[in-house]
Amino acid sequence: MSIQITIDGQPVVTEAGENLVDVAAQNSVYIPTLCYLKGKPCLGTCRVCSVRVNGHITAACSVPVTEGMQVEVDTTELADMRKALIESLFSEGNHNCPSCEKSGRCELQATGYEVEMVVSRFPYRFPLRPREVAADHIWLERDRCIFCQRCVEFIRDRQTDQKIFSIKGRGITAQIEVNTELANRMPPEQVREAADICPVGCIIEKGVGFNDPIGRRKFELQSVRERALGEEES
């Protein structure tokens, strides 16, 4: 059903029930995201896509659009909240871009640039979370995990449908785990998928860490904003 909403005062015609992040992108409005994957169920974990919908601040990725919805994206207050959430992720973990295999391909880094983050306003915590290296083709740099849940929800063992990745503990004691046995039977393309959907450098494919030269990595060729908007145009 065709409906009309407004984004930052501009009328937008779209289909009822479409995801707000997608609708915005289709209309050249970039909303930063870290956990959202187009076409997959909403995870609603990072909150980096916070916007105001009908007066209430909410994560855009969790909003199916409805007739008459009034959406605000580009306000000083909202932009600063989104930036603060990204900064919060930087201070909560150890995100040392120059020494990270994911640099240039990291969504957190790319989104940080996009919101013009310079330094986190929150005190850096420098957590010590032991890395997990037991699996043959994958290792986990746990202090980079942002708990987006992408791997937990979307990467499953193809034979048994069991979870390969999971979270242990809760709150600040939570950490990402991987089942070694299931990880060892992931086919190469699934290993790559897991490393690719990780929005940070937590899930790393062994042996191929620095294969793309600096300057030719994903977000160096095309910014995260361009990719988010450009994919819609094609």
């Binding site: 919060s88 929150f122 999971s166 809760r170 709150g171 089942n179």
Partner: protein, 615 residues
């Protein structure tokens, strides 16, 4: 394969959604959850063991290392801390030989603290396995521990007359109900429930919804959603089957009125559930009972049995061929967040208590994906009373925007802590007089998630959805209390209880707690206060659920009501460095590196003081 584990899996028909129950059974078997047992359970359920642990590690009553023969949980609340918590903890450590968080060397006692166990009217209190001991003193602790050492079980100590656990006398022996003021709604005796249900079934579901809507009954859990509308939406939602859930996960620190209702008015709760089932068309109901109330379980099971005998539960209820409904009790395992209805549903499905993304709402897709009606204990009793006495009677109580009565769990600095039934519209001062408050200074309304009210400023405010929308927790503090310390305790509670699914709540509450510690330590400046407000608003507005949506409230509301307390702690900034910046500590990293490079010795990081993690 271990036969006992296989038997557990079979008892739950390899149903992964009953994982919480299976984990409890394992826990009872071993006293903790051994890795091998979890692996076997995982194999039997076609799950990765990490997936099982994803659930088990979420709940703080599940242990993954061996525990002593007796597990002691001392309630660590601000009220307990006002009433002798520290002396009792010292006595426990001395008598058991266990330090807090550990097991004693002989393997007899494991000692933990735990957030509010719903006994703020009789603190200090502790759970020993499944038995509760209240009004603890060092002498009482000595007596209990020496008896345990002599081989008496916690049950024998707490229940020397060996009363059956199904009997209310057993519950009364363990805890006081302390109903200080009963009113027209909640503790009504002489009910004829078969007659009531018959009348409601005759009138039909639309009439029941109509009465509840006309009564303007709103949910008593805290959010205040219109109960009639919730039932109507759930009734109209398409679904092959539907569920009724009673939220008895009373976790807000300071409240205990649901415990008292479950003890004194359990059948009115059950009646409310049966009425909900008849209206929405449910066949199954669940009471989600927090583990802290485990001593009520047998008693509640007995109440369910009495209902079945009266044909108020089971097949063909009151002879209606198409009305089949029964209720099971789901035990929680220690997680404040499970009071959120969607987190509670996840927990009922054997998963982590993570609040769901909404929409869809539980009335559309709830338990097992089916339309589900989740109501608080107190709401269900109110429903029963509305149907007994009529909507007009209920409407005559309370105020224009808040009909009816509300139970208050009152604790802290007053002569008569306990449960009070008050009409909405009562002022805070009236309540304070009623409970015999002694020199009241600040009142924490609705627990840590609510607001702190300065009595001299807000004493004439009225309880009601339009103003003091209280969830039932009222903690009174007199002028001798350390309010900033209380705020810090509340922030630590939220740090401990955040499920961690979303960034602002997981990370932001830690930053807020750390700021609070900095202020209390006298190292804060005005910039810190400004940042607390700004960060607090960020957490409040961007979090996924009500936990993060309210967790900054202890700071934000005390800053507003008692700004002078914060101002008195501030330090003037001299020079270019913030007062919280410890130059010496910060330079120790350099010192460490120098020593390491010179001596090739690695110095463990924890030995070097980190300015930001310093407590």
């Amino acid at each position: 394969m271990n036969n006992r584990i296989q038997a557990i899996i079979q008892r739950y028909q390899t149903d992964r959604t009953r994982l919480l129950d299976m984990l409890w059974e394992l826990h009872h078997l071993y006293g903790y959850l051994p890795d091998e047992a979890l692996s076997e359970l995982a194999d039997g359920l076609n799950m990765a063991v990490e997936d099982v642990r994803e659930t088990s590690s979420f709940y703080h009553y599940f242990h993954h290392r061996s525990t002593g023969s007796y597990t002691l949980y001392l309630s660590n609340t601000v009220i307990a801390r006002m009433q002798g918590y520290q002396e009792v903890l010292d006595a426990l450590e001395r008598e058991t030989g266990a330090t807090l968080g550990e097991m004693d060397p002989s393997g007899t006692f494991s000692l933990y603290d735990t957030p509010c166990i719903g006994l703020s009217d009789q603190e200090p209190a502790m759970l020993v396995d499944e038995v509760v001991f209240t009004r603890l003193t060092p002498e009482k602790v000595s007596s209990i521990i020496s008896q345990l050492k002599c081989g008496r079980s916690p049950e024998e100590i707490a229940n020397p007359r060996a009363l059956p656990k199904t009997d209310i006398a057993y519950v009364d022996q363990l805890v006081e109900t302390n109903i200080c003021k009963a009113g027209p709604v909640f503790f009504h005796n002489g009910n004829d429930f078969p007659e009531l249900l018959k009348n409601c079934l005759d009138a039909g579901p639309e009439a029941v919804i109509g009465a509840i809507t006309q009564a303007q009954l709103r949910g008593h859990g805290g959010a205040g959603f219109a109960t009639g509308l919730k039932w109507k939406l759930c009734r109209e939602a398409p679904g092959a089957t539907k569920y009724v859930i009673c939220n008895a996960d009373e976790g807000e620190p300071g409240t205990f009125k649901d415990r008292v209702l479950l003890t004194r008015s359990p059948q009115a709760v059950l009646m409310g559930m049966v009425l909900a089932a008849s209206v929405i068309g449910a066949r199954e109901g669940i009471i989600y009972l927090r583990q802290e109330y485990i001593y009520l379980k047998a008693y509640l099971e007995q109440q369910l049995q009495l209902f079945r005998e009266q044909r108020l539960l089971g097949n063909n209820i009151l002879g209606h061929a198409d009305f089949n409904f029964d209720i099971r009790i789901q035990m929680g395992a220690g997680a404040y967040i499970c009071g959120d209805e969607s987190a509670l549903i996840e927990s009922c499905e054997g998963k982590r208590g993570t609040p769901r993304v909404k929409p869809p709402y539980p009335v559309e897709q709830g338990y097992l994906g089916m339309p589900t009606c989740v109501n608080n204990v107190e709401t269900l009793v109110a429903v029963t009373r509305v149907m007994q006495e009529g909507a007009e009677w209920y409407q005559s109580l309370g105020t224009e925007d808040s009909r009816g009565c509300r139970l208050m769990s009152v604790s802290g600095d007053c002569q008569r802590p306990g449960v009070y039934e008050i009409e909405w519209g009562t002022t805070l001062n009236q309540l304070l007089t009623l409970v015999g408050a002694e020199d009241p200074w600040a009142v924490q309304i609705s627990g840590p998630s609510g607001e702190c009210v300065a009595v001299d400023k807000g004493g004439e405010r009225r309880f009601g959805y339009g103003d003091l929308s209280c969830n039932g927790s009222v903690m009174i503090f007199n002028r001798s209390r350390d309010l900033l310390g209380i705020v810090k305790h509340f922030m630590q509670f939220f740090v401990d209880e955040s499920c961690g699914i979303c960034t602002p709540c997981r990370s932001g509450n830690v930053d807020l707690r750390n700021k609070m510690e900095r202020i209390i330590a006298g190292r804060g400046c005005q910039q810190d206060l400004d940042e607390m407000v700004s960060w607090g608003q960020l957490v409040r507005s961007t979090s996924r659920c009500g936990l993060g949506g309210t967790s900054p409230n202890p700071i934000l509301t005390t800053l507003q009501q008692f700004p002078e307390l914060y101002q008195a702690k501030l330090t003037e900034q001299s020079g270019v460095l913030l007062p919280s910046f410890d130059l010496e500590a910060a330079l120790q990293g350099n010192e460490r590196a120098r020593i390491e490079l010179t001596h090739h010795d690695y110095i463990p990081r924890e030995l070097i003081q980190d300015p930001e993690t310093e407590k």
